[in-house]
Amino acid sequence: MSEDAKDPKPEAPKPVPETTTAAAAPAAAAKPAAPAKPAPKPLPTPVYNEADGRLLKERRLWPTDMWRDPWSQPRYRMAWVKLIVLVAVALGAALLLGEVGRFAVPVTSFLLEKGAAYGLPAWAPGLVWALVKIVLVLHVPLLSALVFVWWERKISAHMQSRLGPMYVGGFHGWLQTVADGIKLLLKENITPTAADTWVHRLAPAVVVAPALLAFAPVSFGKDLSAADLDVGLVYVFAMAGVSVVGIMMAGWGSGNKYSLLGGLRSAAQLVSYELPRMFAVIPVIMFAESLNLADIGAAQGGYWFGVLPRWFIFYPVVGQLSFLIFLIASVAETNRIPFDLPEAESELVAGFHTEYSGMKFSLFFLAEYAYMTLACCLAAAFFLGGGTAPLSFLDGFLPSWAWFLGKVLALVFCFLWFRWTFPRFRVDRLMDFNWKFLLPWSFANIALAGLYVMVLS
């Protein structure tokens, strides 16, 4: 409705929509109308300056007028149409990608055959297909960052009784992140005088590159992984660890004491929380007997008693404990509240990325969201069954990538929810929580999982 109010075109002032009463509106008539509902006040007509056509007084629609009878507002009805179209387009795009991906192997062999027929060397079609795969994998972290930033702003706004971005793109500001991205691209690229120039410049790349590389072995559903690595799990954790070097480079290279403190805190925190995060996954490895992410997802197919899915989270005690430890440590690894001490705006003025401007800053931002997406993909694959259906009669109702996407989105919502719910940890409590609670319990968990494996086998 704020778009409606801010329409500044004087040459085509929209006619005042007929503010119908609740009884007259067809949609509202279907609902049980509140007794003795007062008719909404007619909207004031906009006033324009006659000389130059400037808008002097807006036709202002107050939220109370809007929500008294939303269905009578054309804007409100249009918004629902737009939302449905948007969701349909997004689902269609996901369908296209998900369904194309499963033809990876036939397409590769077809390309190889055709290439051999035209006398091309064997690596040429392979190279082309590798490039296509790179694009397909890259769009996951990049697009998800775009969507999740917007989603986070909307969720945080609604949790605080605000509206969030409403203007760019027409429908609930869905293009806001794109506009912000363009703005960040146009910003000046500042290098501080005290900076260690090359370290400062390279740091964002060192943070982002492993974040993107880590998506290679992630299995987005049945037969949907770019690199079917046998050591996929170790690879993902290894790549996620390299980003710490970039954060420390940023902390050092900025030549700023707040950045240095942020870099130090980040190193301490990430190195500490990496341990329970990996130990929480070891029961999963023991149950699945594989390090391959696709195999781990596939090992959770089937149902206990024909109803309850065989997801690792449903293994009594062990599953829930390791899921919780993994979730907490993942939030810590992505530097998000309540573990955002490395960037703590209120004490360290954004910590290690204080001195970064424009695109370099947005690369840090991108890495954070890429790691959040990665953590949710991993949690979905390790504990929530990857691409398997939650109930036995739903098996085959949706393709596996759709189930996977749904689980990832649900987990991302949890991440956003945490951020706008919890206060920040204190440094010493952060370390106590990790070393005295998470780590011992993850060890106990491994022992318990060993007992399970012994009993079951």
Binding site: V199, Y235, M239, A267
Partner: protein, 162 residues
């Protein structure tokens, strides 16, 4: 193709290793140490040792290099940013390094024909079997030593905190 990858990675490893000992800024040295270690990881990958590649990155780059950086950031002094990296003892050092290199090449030469092909089989299962089977005793000994080192570190740092 494999040869290009191997030699490029070897060049990265050697050049950054040289930079570690040549650069005057301690932090730059630490960063190049990380690059050198990831070069070694790349060499493992190009020789088809997938588990070693991942473990090298996991332990050396995101563990040891980060700890070295941490120490440099936490305990570094300003004077360490302009250290001279050579002193008058360079001749004996060169002799020791040369001897070590010669000895290593003598050890490595008998195995130089045994390089694994790049498209090797997954190695994790085999490594796990060996660690828990033939090499169980050395493996447990190493873990014992590591635990002793861990407890020793705690004892040494814990006394001051009292």
């Amino acid at each position: 193709m494999d040869c290009i990858a191997f030699y490029a990675l070897a060049a990265v490893t050697l050049v950054s290793a040289a930079a570690v000992v040549r650069l005057r800024n301690v932090l730059h040295s630490a960063l190049f140490l990380g690059l050198s270690l990831s070069g070694v990881a790349g060499l493992f990958a190009s020789l088809g040792a997938d588990f070693l590649f991942a473990a090298q990155i996991l332990i050396y780059v995101s563990g040891i290099a980060v700890l070295v950086l941490f120490v440099v950031l936490l305990a570094g002094r300003h004077s360490e940013l302009h250290l001279r990296q050579t002193n008058k003892q360079w001749l004996p050092a060169l002799a020791i390094a040369g001897t070590a290199l010669w000895a290593l090449s003598r050890v490595a030469r008998p195995f130089s024909g045994l390089l694994a092909p790049a498209d090797g089989q997954p190695t994790t299962r085999v490594i796990g079997g060996l660690l828990m089977g033939d090499y169980a005793v050395p493996f447990e000994l190493i873990s014992l030593i590591l635990i002793a080192a861990l407890i020793g570190a705690i004892v040494f740092t814990g006394v001051e905190a009292e």
